[in-house]
Every structure is written in structure tokens, then in C-alpha cells.
Amino acid sequence: MAMSRGRSFPTGGVLRRPRLSGVDLFVGGGIVALLYGVIRLAHAMGAPTATAHVGIAVSTGVAHLPYYAARSLLRMFIALGLSVVFTFVYATAAARSRRARVVLIPLLDILQSVPILGFLTVTITFFIALFPGSILGLECAAIFAIFTSQAWNMTFSMYHSLVSQPKELDEAARMFRLTKWERFWRLDVPSSMIGLVWNGMMSFGGGWFFLAASEAISVANHRYALPGIGSYVATAANKGDLAATFTAIVVMVVMVVAVNVLFWRPLVAWSEKFRVETAEAADSPRSITLDLLRRSHVPAALGRPLRPLSRTLDRLTRPFGLAEYPLHEAPVRRRAGDVAFTIVVGAAIAWGVYRGVLFLGHNAGFGQFPRCLGLGFLTFLRVVVLVIGSTLIWVPIGVKIGMNPRLARYAQPVVQVLASFPANFLFPLATVIFLAIHLSLNIGGVFLMALGAQWYILFNVIAGATSIPTDLREMADQFRLPWRQKWRQLILPAIFPFYVTGGITAAGGAWNASIVAEVVDYGKHHLAAQGLGAYITRATTAGNFAEVLTGVVVMSFYVVVVNRLVWRPLYHLAESRYAL
């Protein structure tokens, strides 16, 4: 894919997962085992008395809004920092250790397939139990939810950058005897930087959705609320206060745009210097903020005192040794290590699955599974309608925008903001409309899910259309291809890889959104749809962990199966056949 012209999200490599055909069973087992483990932890630490007084009343006074917004923003950046640290550790371990890779990469694949919103219940209970009687638990749960929406993409991106590092750079690093620490900062991080920043920016956008969903939530018949813009909207919706909702939406848009202009655009422009292709890209991203910073002396002044620090760190980490590995390793020892490792990992998974199944059998009963599969099918239909509908609407529009370079330059950041904007802020407004026209949430739910998910398709289609080389476009004009033929033979094949990326992301987003979109409240009105999302939400509110687990497992099952049967083959086709 031509990354310099139009960039897709997630970027290449994030979706190019390892071949897992034989490991699918392992993935399924892993999901059950992992989820069960988290639930047990939460249970063990769950002190019911401690949960009663958590959270504060959120005011809908406009004066409070800037403070709430700042609190929310802080949460976002803390989560981003955690995601970066997690990415560094996890991706490096997966890329550098043969044995760790075997476990870490499928595990990441699992984590990416689990609709994490459904697990908010469990994490909230866990964190509240961790910090009894303090708001810190809620804070941690919200930050954790945002973290889970950012970390996986970034980790996959860095892992992919590390394993596809140019061979001669790796050889140069070893030849010149860099220490592990030096290699990480001089080679590994810089060579992953572009993908990391781009995926970080887009995931950060996705994080707003989780922020809004996790600041105010009902778990086990308790309403929890954190001071933040998300709970502000939730409170306004509960009161049926449209004016406050509008104000919050405006503040949110300002915040998303400001973070983009002041933080992400400069970072994206700055990260261009880490491009490994040595030729200068024709139209590299630019940022006014970055230009300003570069002209001022502040960054240099700030950097100067840090230099001795970096030198000291270089020296302190010297004992960790060179970024080298011995050329010779006794094959017997290696084999024995492999066997022991396999046994330990296999036993852990088997035990987790066994305990998880027991837990489900005791608490929810396996009768829930057929029911969940049925409900899941209804939600699946909504996702299908959503993807097809968004495709029919946004592909022609996206192509129109992308084929017009001037328009594309302005449209892409706008679409990016639209994709970042947390769709759940709009739910109250949409609910008002549904109530007015008496639309059932069974159908309206599709629109609610689409509010957030559709933009990934538009965004990627624009990126795809932008990347059609000018000479091919001129060729099409010169041969006067009729529009039908032009679409069939030029445009659709060219945007296909980008569309597939957008489609996977949109579908994944829609599954996650179903958890908040299939049950909505506005004032005294309560709307609910038939579906797996509603099932999970209800189980969450009632505090029925076994049912949450069943619902999330079934939802993960749908996501994994559809990815394997539909998206993966399409992605493979796109890569082998239609990559420009």
C-alpha cells in the first residue's frame, strides 16, 4: 500500500496477523480462559460494601464543563502513556523472544477480538475492590477501558515494524556493538515511530468512545459516575436536558480538534523523519504547530539538560549487555526448554478453560449459549446491514473526495475528527428522534452503531482513492473509459485493500458499539433492542458475571468466525491481487 499518499487505519501489518489456522482452537480456548481469570480476580477482591459510596453526583451546570473536560482529557493521556509503555514492552518481547512470541501474538489477537466494552463490568468491580472507598478505582477502570481501545493496534503496529526491520540495519546495530538499551532507542523505537504515531492517533480517537462509555455506567444495580464530560452527557440524557447535551457536543468537538491540531498533527509531521525509505516523500504531512515549535528555541532549551540524563541511562544500562545473542546454543537444551515451555502454557490454558466451563455451568447454565447465539445473530444482522449500508453510501462519496486532491486534503482531517468524535454523545439526540418518529430500537440500533463505525469505511476509501497513481487516472481519461468500466477496472480494484481495512475496523467497532447502542435511556424513556449487546448490558446492570462472560464469549466467537471466514480471505486477496 502506498503509505506516503493515502494512509489506511489500522496501518498495514496490524491486520496481517500471523497464520493461525491451527491455532484457532487455541485462540478460542484462550478467550474463555482469559476472561474467566479476570472474573475470578474481580470476584476474589470484590467487597460489596465498598461499592456503595463510589462516584459523585455530576452536575449539568455549564460552568462545570471545562473542568470535566480537562479531567476526561487527563484520563485519555494517562491511558495513552500506559499504552505506549505496554506497547514497548509487549512488542519488544514478542519480536525478540522466540518463545514469548508463540504466546504473545495469539494472545494479542484474542484481546483484539474481545469486545472490551462488555468487560467493563468486571474491570470496574475489580478496580473498585482494589481501591475500596476511593474514586481511584473508578478512575483506573475508565483509564483501563481507554487503554484497551488503544494498546492493541499500537502493539501490533510496533511488532510488525520490529519484525520487518531492514535486515542490514539489524546487522549494522550488531556489528557496531550497540547495547540492548541503545539499540532499543536508536533503532527499534525510531524505526517503528511512523506506524506507532499514526495508529496511536487513530486509536486515541477511538478512545473517546470508551471514555464516554466508561465514565458513567451501571454495574450490579449501582450507578457509578466520574467527573468528566462523558458522565456529563449521561446525566444530561437522564434528565432529558437537550441544551446541556448540545453544549457538551460542542465542547467535545473543540477538544477533539484541539488535540489533533496541537498534539497529533505535529507528532505525525515530526515522525516523518523516521521514514526508512531514504527518498523524500513528495507530499509529507505538515503541521503549523510543529513549524512554530521548530522556529522557537524552547525545544532545544528543554532538550539540553536532558542530554546528560540520556548519557547516564546509556551508561547505567550497559550491564544489561549487547543487543546480541550467542551464535551457538546446545540443541538439546533448546529443545528441552521448548518442551517445558509448551507444557506449562498448555496446562495453564487447559486449567483456565476447565475452570471457566465449570464456573459457567454452575452460575449461568449452558442453556444460555443457544440463547446468546440467537441474540448474537440478530446483532450480526445489524452489523451486516450497517457495513453494506455504509459501503453503498460512503464508497462513491469517498472516491469522489479522494480523486480530487484539493478536496481530499481538507476532507481527510474532517473525517478523522468525525471518526474520533464519540458517537455515544449523539445517542440522546438520536433517541429523541426515534421517540418522535416511533422507530423501534431494533432498527434504530443500526443507526446508533453506524454513528461511530461508518467513518472508518469513508476514511479508508478516501485514502485508497488518493493513492491511485495520477498516470492511471490520466490513462482512464485518455482512453475515455465509460464510467462503469472505469469503476470496475480501475477504481474498485485500487481502493479494495483500503476498503477491506476499513470494513474490518467498522465491523469491529459496530460489535463493540452494540453493547451501548442496543439499550438507551433518555429521561424517563427506556428503549431496548433484541440483541447480544442488550443481553450483555442487562447482565452488567444486574451484576450477573456468568451471563456477561457467556455474552462476551459468544460475541468474540462471532467476531473471530466472521474475521476468519470473510475478512481474512478478502484481506489476503487484497494484498496478493490488488495492492498498488
Binding site: 546487522e171 557496531f176 525510531p190 551464535l327 551457538h328
Partner: protein
Amino acid sequence: MRYEPFAPQAPVGASVRVGAVTGAAIVAVDHVFKHFTTPDGSELPVLEDINLTLHEGEIVALLGKSGSGKSTLLRCIAGLISPTQGTVTYRGTPLNGANPGVAMVFQSFALLPWLNVRANVELGLEARGVEPGERRTRAEQAIDRIGLDGFESAYPKELSGGMRQRVGFARALVVEPDALLMDEPFSALDVLTAENLRTELLTLWSGRDFPTKAILIVTHNIEEAVQMADRIFVLSSNPGRLRAAIVNEIARPRDRRSPEFEALVDKIYAIMTAPPGSEKGAPAPKVDPATASPIELPLPHASVGGLAGLLEILRNRGGRDELPELADLLTFEVDDLLPLVDAAHLLGFANIDKVELALTPLGDQWVGADILTSKEIFAGQALQRAPLVRAIVRALEATDDGTVDEQLFLDLLGRGFTPEEARAQLDTAIQWGRYGELFEYDSVEGQLLLPVADAPTGPPAPAGVGRVAPDGGGAAAAVGGGTVAPDGGVAAAGDPATGRGGPQAGEPGSPAGDGR
């Protein structure tokens, strides 16, 4: 100047008495074998029983075609990979990790794009924990010496290829390595820049304060080896063995046009084009193309278009010419030229006598014929003399539906080649087979298929492949069912023979409907 047949039993350093080479051994390679394990578990020899020693005070060149394992050998010496068998020692100590006494210059420069020239040069010093002040002074010196002053704060992408490689040299030399390893350091540069940099490096080398005591250069450029090296090792291909060790005693500075220089170049050309095995004095094991297996007789990586172009030029130059002349004319290096020469020889279109390439009558006919006839000639020769093409056609004919999955051939080839080489072999065979209309290839499904025989009722050929007309033999190229790959017209589009051949109606074998 002296050429002696190489005796594989004795270490080269010991067997060759040279005036210039009296220094202590820096790196010694002792009975090194390198095997790669293929996915199906079989072992592929890449290097076989290599012995050589790099002494203080000499420049040694490793010369070989692609596939001779010369880069693999260099990486064994650098301590980047381990030999399967045998040892590499640095000053007597066996390596178990990157060689502490050498620095390497890479073909692709391997500069960190996010560091400026000075930071790139300082990289190795920083890793050794040299204090910032001293680091700076030493980097400045290296930058000055290598002719980069004024570019200290430039980033690699702002520099030309030649300047980037200068940074590569400065970065390697600033750590004052015992020996400098160079992996085709000039092959990514244009001819003039490469010549300029080579000369400057030799000037530095002959200077008194040059810190490095020996240079080992891997190259496929014969003239480069003759110009630079005191000793030249020629490696054979598949697997790489030391084929010849040549002591180069031409006085420096060496003049490329001097008769002794040209004589040595011719001699090395003759060694490199001689059939494998012949250097041992024993009669070469005769491989008969008509019966050999695809593994016994691999296909040279030559495109049909390149082959036709070379023979066309040969024909215009009277049907015969010397290889160094041809290489010069085309500004080709050995790696570009030899696969084409090997392919011409394999297909019976040309003969090699020492360093002279001569067109056979059949080759002459192939180059001169119109497109359809030339395809027929090519198909016949490929079927008879290219084992892999023959194997594919036989396999296709043996199936009911005339399709075979390419994986079958990749697996078969995997017994004798690395996965990459197996893929390259199959790709060459596919290109040859497609050109000769012996079979077709569906790149999406990865399937090889027989051309649909006479399909009068079949759907019309899709637009764009119309140029691949049915040949006179009756096998139709038109395919229905969308199985034709868009580049199915490769021969028609990419082959110089086409443009020239045109519709020469009336040629033997051209279809009745063509022309008249």
C-alpha cells in the same frame, strides 16, 4: 600474477606463498560449512568446506555469481551468523557473536535515516562508551578524512548515493577496526561514483596512518576485484566452494587498460563461465539437459526479453563476441550478464568457448524469426533442455483436468533449494513456459494449467490479451473463465523480439490467417 588451481584440502593461506602477504592472521576460516534448513527439514548446502585466512596488510576479494554464498561467508566472518560446521576465529579466538575486531560497510549503506551524518559516524563509538568529547574529535577526523566535511549535520536522505556510502566508510573506519569487511560496497552506485570512491579508498589504504590492517571485499565485479585485491578467491555456485585462489601481483596503481590487467580479467571470466567441477582437473560430471532433474540442472534466472536482447546484440556484432566486451558494452556486471549467458547456453542458442560467446544457428533463427515462430522454437528448446519446464508440462499432461497447484513444484524444488530460490526457479520456469505457450499460470490461485486446446466455442479472449494469438501448432492461447492473468501477455509486451518481429507473414509456421 599467477593462477593456481585450488586444492580444497589445504587452507588457502598456507598453500599460497605471496610476497605481500606476510602479516599475522586476523581472521581465519577453518573448514566452514553452512547449511540452511528448508521448511520440509532437508539440509541445503550453501557453503562447502571453505578455508581462508585474512592477513595483516592485504586486500582480499571474494568473487562469485549470485547464489555462490559469498555474502553468507562474509556474514560468517562478521560473526552475524554461525557456520553449521567449522570455525571462524578472530586472532585465534573462535567467534560466538559479532566479530569484535571488524567493521562492515554495507551494499545498501545501512545508515540510520533519523540520525545526521555526525551521529551516524559516532554510533559505533557511542556503543563502545567513548566519552562525548573524544567521540566528537574522532568523528570529525573520520569525516574530514573521508571527504565529508561540511555535511556533518546533513541527514542521509539529503545525500547522494556516493556521499551516503562515504558516511558508511567513515562510520566503519572511525572505530579503527582491525579488518574492514565490505559487502559489495560500490554496486549500488553509478559507475563514475563507484570508480571515484574505489580510488579514494585505495589511496587511504596506501597511506601511512590508515588504522585498518586488512580489507575483505565481496564483489561480483571482476574488474573491481582485479583493481583492488592482492588475492582473489573465486567461489562456485550451489553450493559455494572455493574454486580458485588467484594472487594478483600487478603493481599499484593499476591501469585497467594494461595488458596484464586485461589478461587477468579474461582469465577470471574463463574460470567463472567454465562448467562446475572442471577446475578440479577431473572431467566435469556431465549433466545431460534432456534427462536431468530440475534440481540437478537449475534454470538460470534469465528473462526471455533479456535473453532475446542479448542475442540480438550478439547477432548484430557478427554472431560472436567476448564476454568482457559485452559486459562493457552493456555496462553489465557479471551478475547481470552470466544468467543470460547461461540461459542461452542451456537452451542451445549460444555456445561458450572460454570467454567467447557464439550464436548457434538455432539461436540465430530464434532471434530472427517472427513472434510466433520464435515462440515455437523457444517452446521446443525449453521442453527439451529446461528440466523444470519439462517437469511441469509432464505433470500437467498427467492430470485429468490439466491443472496442478504450484505448491507441488515448490515442495519438490524445496528438496534442493532454499524457499526463495525454489520460488525464483518456479518463476523463471513460469515465465519461459508462458512465453512458449506451454502452460499458463493463475497467480491468484497459484495454479499452473495447460492451455485450453482449440476452443472454437469458447468465450472471446478478454481485451488486452488479444496479442497472444493462437500459435501454429494448434494449441490456443485464448482462455476463458477469467483464468488468464493480466500479465499473460508478458512475452508480447516485454520482449524486444516482438517489436522487431512484427507480422512477418509467410514465415514458416505462421498461421494461415496471419498476413496473407
